[in-house]
Amino acid sequence: MMNPVQPQACTILSVKKESLHEWTFRVTSDAKPAHGQFMQLSIPMIGEAPISVSAQGDGWLEFTIRSVGKVTDVIFQKEAGDTLFLRGPYGKGWPVEQFRDKHLVVITGGTGLAPVRSMLNMLAETPGYVRSVHLISGFKNADGIVFHKELEEWKQKFTTIYALDHDTMEGWRTGLVTTFVSEIPFDAFRGEYVVVVVGPPPMMKFTGLALMDQGVEPEKVYMSFERKMSCAIGKCGHCRIDEVYVCLDGPVFPYTVARDLID
């Protein structure tokens, strides 16, 4: 009998410090996750946690981890050559096929950038896949900014608004991401658009409301959820909201579903 929760050993190729609290681990893996899917990452003794895949390449995956919780506290002691354990990928990622030839709006809060990073990299490398990319990326403060290199590169290829919640910094705007939603030229998109929102629960909630205020059609908005999970295969029950299991039916949900999910 197959064991769907069997972790596989993999080797850490590199560790990169993204910000004060966020580190990116590149590990060996032959898995081919879809953009927006997640894996179960485990460290013996500490346990397992769902982590979204923040980049991928031939034979490797990247995970960007924030230093909270048991798993992540210990993972910061790991270095290249050490072993981690993975299983997955799990869940439903971004419906990237449906984004073809549309104007794509991506709105992220903090490390919510990680679950869209691999998709944005793909779009940066594949001109013409979508008509345009508008990226609004907000961070609490300068210390929290991740993926500096990509953010610079994306400036060249996408229309970007980078913001800090309260602080001021050159080249960055100040304010919550919701305040910049009105700057997206939705009228110019003539209905040919898709919006992707990822971030902490309150950020997603208020961004959803701000989008609706702009007359955005709810069917064209997608959000990615993050919930506690033990199994990632619909057994442990931790991530269930109503009749939905975030691990199976998400983490990406259409806004029409997401807005009605009350924990």
Partner: protein
């Protein structure tokens, strides 16, 4: 085939069966109850007819045999997670219809949800044959008839107990040989058709009604009444939730085991992610989450039937005397109120 066995004949058959089966049944654990000089009845391997508690409902459900409160799922070393092993000897599980129906309900999660078949559930479940225990309608917390879980056809044996012995209907032909030479009678098992307690499950098919119910004041009383101990979900015949936990052996952090431990949506922290606040931080919200799962959400996902089998064990085990049937009736009243308001 039907048999009428005296106590000593029942013991003979039980010992014959033990050659090929581990026999699990409700067993009394004297003075191990919550309060002094009270007993606990829970599932354990039995070795004689006298071990079997058949006249009252067990405090804990039969699910503990298949999905124990705690089990090792992996043993790990520095570079490997090795799945634990289980005994391969088949299990004969004596259970009332509620407990047998509960396994069908649990299987949709453990062995079906998302297309994933859980090894740790299925490898034990496939060893199990049920012997249905006669139930006369249980106690004043039972409402299996309301939930449609009073009958079952998933059994190899049917047993009707008395002080003097047991009447047996052998359904599984593989088990006939164990009864060789025993006195035969005509016995066909029947099921209880009425409980003292009746519960009307509210119709929650309307999304707007559900939305309004989530914030309805009906849940508020549980903020002062419910202590979020989780005894209800541990006692529940159908609750499946678990957490995985890594433990280490001695002082070597590289060697240990990964355990699966029963979890409860009623206990604080169930939905808490590291460094974040809980989504459901009050007893009322947790109660709402549990009740709606049992009486709407499960059926909405899997169709066919509600999750609750009406065994009443959550009510029996609640130290704060919160009755699930009373709760459902209060919710029904709230739903009527909501519907009236929506139609206005």
């Amino acid at each position: 085939m039907g048999y009428s066995l005296s106590v000593s004949q029942a013991d003979t058959v039980l010992h014959e069966l033990q050659r090929d089966y581990r026999i699990y049944a409700p067993k009394r654990f004297p003075k191990q109850g919550r309060y002094s000089d009270t007993d606990i009845i829970r599932y354990a391997e039995v070795n004689s007819f006298a071990d079997i508690v058949w006249d009252i409902k067990s405090d804990y459900p039969a699910k503990e045999v298949i999905t124990p409160i705690q089990q090792a799922i992996f043993y790990f070393t520095e570079d490997e997670y090795r799945a634990s092993k289980v005994k391969s000897k088949p299990i004969l599980l004596l259970a009332r219809p509620c407990d047998i129906n509960a396994q069908r309900i649990q299987a949709r999660i453990y062995a079906g949800n998302g297309g994933y078949d859980d090894l740790y559930y299925s490898r034990i479940r496939e060893l199990v044959k049920f012997a249905v225990m006669d139930c006369n309608g249980g106690d004043d917390t039972c409402f299996c008839v309301s939930m449609g879980s009073n009958r079952t056809d998933d059994y190899a044996l049917a047993l009707k107990f008395s002080e003097d012995g047991v009447l047996v209907q052998v359904v599984d032909e593989d088990l006939v040989s164990y009864f060789e030479g025993m006195p035969q009678v005509d016995y066909t098992h029947t099921f209880v058709e009425e409980n003292e307690l009746k519960v009307t499950v509210p119709d929650l098919s309307d999304k707007n009604v559900r939305k309004a119910l989530k914030t309805h004041p009906v849940w508020q009383e549980y903020n002062s009444r419910c202590i979020s101990c989780g005894a209800c979900t541990v006692a529940c015949s159908t609750c499946t939730c678990f957490t995985t936990r890594d433990v280490i052996y001695g002082d070597n952090p590289e060697v240990g085991e990964r355990r699966r431990v029963t979890a409860s949506c009623q206990i604080a922290g169930f939905d808490q992610m590291a460094g974040q606040k809980e989504f459901r931080s009050t007893a009322a919200e947790r109660m709402r989450y549990k009740v709606l799962h049992k009486f709407h959400d499960y059926k909405a996902r899997f169709g066919q039937e509600h999750m609750c089998v009406g065994c009443g064990r959550c009510t029996r085990r609640c130290p704060e005397l919160i009755s699930i049937s009373a709760t459902v009736n209060k919710v029904s009243a709230a739903v009527d109120e909501i519907r009236a308001a929506l139609n206005r």
